[in-house]
């Protein structure tokens, strides 16, 4: 019995002792006991110790006050308790430090990330998904919001999506949810306004687009947006076309440059032949947009000769002078970025 108690004691307390060592070793000498204690609390709740120590080191070296460091830790603890992935929140901290943003604004940005994931998690509660699928979708939803979608407009898409997935199998529902969110994210990242995104997505859902068609819609839009003068104008044209029965395949050969969002053609009314592929008087097929070369965005040019890419990780190309600066530290260029 005594031996059993001793074993239980060691099993429970040894990890705590080792955390204490790690925290003491990882943080600079002179770190306050409050910050060390707070660091341990974040580790104990299940956040990767290396990530916690690195973020704490960076906050200290970026002159966060003791209170601000602890606030950053508390934010992570809160996220972890809500079953929110802590990685995007920690990444936001490092990004803010790299951009030389003030501690207060970094903490606010970290909180915004947490709130986005909290909201996304709430959405997934009403979906037919298992835990892993719910996490994937919460991530996509949070990314939609990071790209500019607001809560009200997300609600509008989610309501239509919920209605559409009500009477289909769990697998099909997941696929449709996933592809709808991916396409929403693509449009938002392309700079389409949230209202226009809602129109495109809801028209596609109401036109009974399945998951494959939703995926095709997203990829076609991304390709065409590269050649379009305005992503929002293209989205409006898509919305009208989908409403009028256009399939994603038709959208693939649709040239938005020649058509206004209202469906009027600047060069006069299209001919019957132009209009043929569109159902119900929708968009005409006016020839393919020229796509950028495979693997290239913007102007494609040949690779400079003699380039030897690094074997792994982010690397300066062979021959580059200088080296990687300390994690998250201020840029070595004189003057640095102005604090916002």
């Amino acid at each position: 019995m005594k031996r059993l108690l001793m074993t239980v004691f060691f099993v429970i307390f040894i990890p705590f002792l080792s955390f204490a060592d790690e925290v003491d070793k990882g943080l600079p000498s002179g770190t306050s006991s409050r910050i060390k204690e707070s660091t341990r609390q974040v580790i104990q709740i299940g956040v990767d110790p290396d990530a916690v120590i690195k973020m704490t080191q960076n906050m200290i070296s970026d002159n966060f006050s003791e209170q601000q460091v602890v606030a950053g830790h508390e934010l992570l603890i809160k996220a972890k308790k809500q079953n929110i992935d802590e990685e995007p929140i920690i990444n936001k901290l490092h990004e803010g430090i790299a951009k030389n943003v003030t501690a207060e604004n970094i903490l606010q940005a970290m909180e915004k990330v947490r709130v986005r994931y909290e909201l996304a998690n709430a959405y997934t509660q009403n979906m037919k998904t298992d835990e892993q699928q719910a996490r994937e979708m919460a991530k996509e939803m949070a990314e939609c919001m990071a790209a500019g979608m607001d809560k009200n407009n997300m609600n509008k898409i989610m309501e239509t999506l919920q209605a559409k997935t009500k009477n289909i199998s769990k697998d099909e529902a997941f696929k449709l949810n996933e592809k709808t969110l991916e396409t929403t994210r693509t449009l938002a990242r392309s700079g389409v306004s949230p209202n226009d995104i809602v129109d495109v997505m809801n028209n596609a859902l109401k036109s009974n687009y399945n998951s494959g068609q939703m995926e095709k819609l997203g990829s076609t839009f991304m390709t065409q947006a590269r050649g379009a003068s305005s992503a929002s104008t293209l989205a409006k044209a898509y919305s009208d076309a989908i409403k009028n029965g256009a399939t994603p395949e038709k959208l693939g050969s649709f040239n938005p440059q020649f058509q206004s969002p209202s469906g009027e053609f600047p060069g006069g009314a299209p001919t019957q032949a132009d209009n043929a592929p569109a159902i119900g008087g929708g968009p005409s097929v006016l020839g393919n947009m020229s796509s950028p070369p495979a693997g290239a965005q913007g102007i494609a040019r040949p690779l400079p000769s003699g380039n030897q890419p690094a074997s792994s990780g982010v690397a300066s190309p062979a021959g580059a002078s200088g080296s990687t600066a300390p994690a998250g530290g201020p840029p070595p260029a004189p003057g640095g970025i102005e604090k916002k």
Partner: protein
Amino acid sequence: MPRILTVISLALMFLSGCVNNYYYQIKDDQLHIFFHEPKAEKVYFLSSLDQFELHETKKCKKGLWEISVPAGREFEYFFIVDGALSIPACDQKEKDDFGSENCIYIPEEDI
């Protein structure tokens, strides 16, 4: 005639230098990003691949700066040009919660 040439030159400069100030290519699973900053002294690349650590880019010909990263994963990125934040004219962007934006690279197979 000189006026026409000037207009054409300006249009070409605008198209090559202002609108598309960067491009990328994939070779051997590596993504090579080229950023056009002819007047820059130092250009750094930062991305979510490694929690936004600073990486010095290599100066190539014609005002281009180059960095290579693994091509298989989606990531957010931006540049620091002579100490100032610089966002290329990329297709896919995300707000950064600091009043600016980040570019997003999406692997071709995910499009």
